[in-house]
């Protein structure tokens, strides 16, 4: 899944032709960023040299960035790129950022502007991120990802929640209240982790041999 649709197609003739699409695009992005920064700091005081205002440095930097962009743009028209047009892929960036977004939206109840997300906790946010993110690779296999999700999630619970004492929501609130009403955070965490590990073992046992995707571990000789 690759796209090469850059705004201007390279032509080999002289004159005003794009010779390095990479540099032309890079230059345009830098100029756009510079203009954006200038626009954002437009109504902030620049101050004088004696009392430097908040806008002075950002604006100066933005001008310099714009200048760099301009140089790159010119270079893109004059010099040929050392390597061809960059190959982009969409599957990786889309799925990975979608899975991170999903993790952010489900890990904890939170207000995003007018939106409110439901707290699902690590028990659901973790496996979802792993499985959906895992499909960013074209070689993804569901069973492998499921096993990874069911072992890595409890491992992270124990590492971050239990050992490092960082507060991470484990379960959806209503579920944790119903199941572990009187229990402390840590013991409910341990029980959840144990359940997930058990699930991993069960999945491993009962789907064995269904996909030929065992990790090959070769033997290695080490002699001292």
């Amino acid at each position: 899944m690759t796209t090469r649709d850059l705004p201007v197609r390279p032509t080999e003739k002289g004159g005003l032709a794009v010779r390095s699409p990479e540099n032309v695009l890079g230059g345009l992005v830098l100029i756009a960023l510079a203009l954006f920064a200038l626009w954002l700091t437009l109504d902030l005081p620049r101050g004088t040299l004696t009392t430097v205002g908040p806008a002075m440095l950002p604006q100066a930097i933005a001008v310099l960035i714009g200048a760099c962009g301009f140089v790159l743009l010119i270079a893109g028209f004059k010099r040929r790129a050392e390597h061809g047009a960059p190959v982009w892929s969409l599957r990786g960036p889309l799925l990975v950022s979608f899975s991170i977004g999903l993790f952010a939206a489900t890990i904890k109840g939170h207000h995003f502007g007018n939106w409110k997300t439901i707290e699902f906790g690590l028990m659901f946010a973790g496996p979802m991120a792993i499985i959906i993110g895992g499909y960013a690779s074209s070689e993804a296999r569901f069973r492998d990802l499921l096993l990874l999700a069911l072992t890595l999630t409890p491992f992270c619970m124990l590492l971050f929640g239990d050992m490092l004492n960082l507060p991470i929501p484990i379960l959806p609130r209503f579920l944790s209240e119903a199941l572990f009403g009187g229990m402390s955070y840590k013991s409910s965490l341990r029980v959840t982790a144990a359940v997930l590990f058990t699930a991993a073992i069960l999945v491993f046992r009962f789907t064995k041999g269904r996909s030929g995707s065992r990790i090959e571990v070769a033997k290695h000789e080490v002699r001292n």
Partner: protein, 500 residues
């Protein structure tokens, strides 16, 4: 001299407590574990593991982070030798002869000499740091805001000159980093800048978020594009301890590499990155049989590996004494220190001597541990090299998500690593490098602060940067360097150093 010994004694007193020893060991192990994974370099490793040190006390956290750093470096060389995939730029040199040695069935010797060379280099570098810390800190205390500003400019110019590829792109990345650092509420006037009215940007962009996005996530996206051809050595690893003959062959390159690395590492700007390249070309030049290089010459592993480790270690000097991170890894260290409430700089040594000397002592201990634990564990590491990437990256992804969430319990920050991941992916597709961006981001805040303070002190006179002799010299060096780098004839030379 006596001072030095008593300081080191103090340091070892701190580093040898059970707790800190354990953290150092843990850092080394975890660092190696993650650093060894193909396609995960030291910067990604540290930014990924940064959150797990948050719960510790500052001394322990920094000791563990330093351990992670050496471990990641060590793991990187192992991958370079066994799989021919360099985890970062500096490991490229190790792949040349190290992997060839491995193919000839001498993987164990290559790994062994790399570890021993690194340890010896680390020992010398630790002494260099301890000896130079005091005088340099004294120097730093004379520095006013104008000198600091100029020094940082020089550091950034060094970083530009030593970056790979296009110079103009490296400059642009540093500038973008500085621009990003100005997002958030202005410290002096309290007005919010470029926040788009988003409340989570008022405090500025979180350093860990930027680092993890641009390195952790973007690296996953980049790796997914490259169809991986992993060339894990199939021969036996062979014996690990080099024999007397190999030792004699490697002794001189280790010494030269150590000296070269120690000197280059001190330079502000990423001098350490040059060390392995310089050592390799030096060894090749003075060798009686230069044709052996590239075909498995032990000097080509011993020299650069020592230089790399020495440089990696002495690059702590500008950070610890002047408070200026010379490269992206050290920028991460600044981030970690700030999170623990320590402002890196000349004052750390006097106000927090146990932290300062404890960290230095733990550097040596970390190197020793790596030597002792890692050689017997090679078998395990080899197995780790075989984990397919399609299982590796979801794990890294998950770790980044939880790690960043655990810092502030803020889902928005998790979203932001996705954003910066895409940004990092896009900029590398356009031929930019993300490391200068991170460095610019960290130095940006310090630069603005010092720039404003200097102008305040001189009542708005820009000449203060030139009238002040130290500042003038530093700026002159920067201008000279930049001019030289932009000259076409010298640019060719620079490219040759990197491609060789």
């Amino acid at each position: 001299m006596f001072d030095l010994l008593s300081n080191l004694f103090l340091g070892f007193g701190v580093a040898l407590t059970f707790n800190n020893l354990f953290l150092c060991l843990l850092g080394c192990l975890v660092g190696t574990l993650v650093g060894i994974l193909p396609g995960v370099g030291p910067i990604a490793t540290i930014s990924m593991l940064l959150p797990i040190t948050f719960g510790l006390d500052p001394v322990g956290a920094l000791i563990m982070l330093a351990g992670i750093y050496y471990g990641a470096q060590y793991g990187g060389s192992t991958t370079a030798i066994l799989v021919n995939i360099p985890g970062e730029a500096t490991a490229v040199v190790t792949t040349l002869d190290g992997h060839q040695m491995a193919r000839r069935g001498q993987a164990g010797i290559a790994l062994g000499i790399a570890a021993i060379g690194s340890f010896l280099a680390g020992t010398v570098a630790t002494i260099v740091i301890a000896a130079l810390a005091k005088p340099l800190t004294g120097l730093a205390l004379v520095f006013g805001p104008a000198e600091y500003f100029s020094l940082m400019v020089m550091g950034l110019v060094f970083a530009v000159v030593l970056a790979h590829g296009s110079i103009i792109k490296a400059i642009a990345m540093i500038l973008v980093g500085i621009l990003l650092s100005t997002v958030g509420v202005d410290i002096e006037t309290g007005e919010d800048r470029m926040t788009l009215g988003l409340s989570f940007l008022f405090d500025g962009i979180d350093f860990a978020v930027l680092a993890m996005g641009v390195f952790g996530i973007a690296e996953i996206l980049r790796n997914l594009d490259n169809v991986e051809t992993r060339d894990v050595v199939r021969q036996t690893i062979g014996r690990l301890l080099p024999g007397w003959k190999e030792f004699k062959q490697a002794a001189a390159p280790i010494t030269r590499g150590t000296l070269l690395g120690s000197v280059l590492g001190i330079l502000p700007g990423n001098g350490a990155v040059l060390a392995p390249f310089a050592s390799y070309s030096l060894e090749k030049k003075i060798s009686k049989h230069p044709e052996r290089f590239g075909k498995g010459a032990i000097e080509g592993v011993a020299g650069p590996e020592s230089a790399n480790n020495a440089g990696a270690q002495t690059s702590f000097i500008p950070l610890l004494t002047l408070g200026i991170p010379p490269n992206a890894v050290m920028a991460l260290m600044v981030g970690a220190m700030t999170i623990h409430g320590i402002v890196p700089g000349p004052l750390v040594m006097t106000s927090n001597p146990t932290l300062f000397w404890g960290m230095i002592a733990s550097m040596w201990l970390g190197n020793l541990m790596l030597l002792i634990i890692n050689l017997p564990m090679i078998g395990l590491w080899v197995r780790l090299l075989k984990v397919p990437y399609q299982l590796l990256f979801p794990a890294i992804l998950m770790f980044c998500c939880i790690g960043i969430f655990s810092i502030n319990s803020e889902p928005v920050q998790v979203l932001m690593i996705a954003f910066f991941g895409i940004v990092g992916y896009a900029i590398s597709k356009l031929g930019f490098e993300p490391a200068p961006l991170l460095l610019g981001f960290v130095l940006g805040r310090l630069m603005e602060e010092n720039f404003r303070r200097a102008l305040l002190m001189s009542r708005g006179d820009m000449m203060t940067f030139i009238e002040n002799p130290i500042s003038a010299v530093l700026l002159a060096i920067s201008v000279l360097l930049l001019a030289m780098a932009l000259l076409p004839s010298l640019r060719k030379n620079r490219d040759e150093v990197f491609t060789e």
